[in-house]
Subunit: 91 residues, 2 copies
DNA sequence: TTAACATTTAACCTAATTGTTAAATGTAGT
DNA sequence: ACTACATTTAACAATTAGGTTAAATGTTAA
């Protein structure tokens, strides 16, 4: 997977927040949506960007589609990077 | 400096290539421009995005403005990150 | 098979990004 | 002061990104 896609995917605050949520464990799309003010359609597209960037995986279970982090390491690196730069911990 | 700005700045391939160039040492704006196909005006704006993200610093010397990396560490991290993900080394 | 629910996809709108050219700014040399 | 050069800023066009609502898809259960 290209670096370009990964960085582009990470450049949006909602997508980073989604990764942050998934750090705790997998979640159904609907549960993810409920953490944000935007519509499900909007989150669904964010999820597809993250998926194309290979940062998350999805797996359908019945009528739910669960998402899980594909590279939890990445979040760790970013947190470290943020601290290195003396930035706010996330966002 | 906010993570948002850093990641946004890093999400453009030209800007990443500029950082890559600056890894070797400081360069005048014009020299940077000559490495790309786009106009000086366009590169100038890319430079200002990188500067706002605090990834580079500038210092005027006579009629030249030299740019230098402000966080060479960052490039290292990204290269490592790219390898971790099994991606192309840069871009 | 119909109804209800979860999620995605399509169509559309607006705002942001990136590029261009032309004008403005800053500096050096004559 | 004038000219030449290096770089940025302004104004504009084209593209991309992110949001919305409405329609489509997939799944379960009656």
């Amino acid at each position: 997977m290209a670096l370009q896609q990964t960085l582009r995917a990470l450049s949006d605050p909602i997508r980073r927040e989604i990764l942050h949520l998934l750090k705790k464990g997998r979640m159904a799309a609907g549960d993810i949506v409920s953490h944000f003010e935007v519509t499900g359609a909007s989150i669904s597209r964010h999820l597809s960007v993250l998926k194309e960037a290979d940062l998350i995986r999805d797996c359908r279970e019945g009528k739910y589609i669960y998402y899980e982090l594909n590279a939890s390491v990445l979040e760790e690196i970013l947190l470290w990077l943020a601290e290195l730069k003396g930035a706010e911990t996330h966002d």
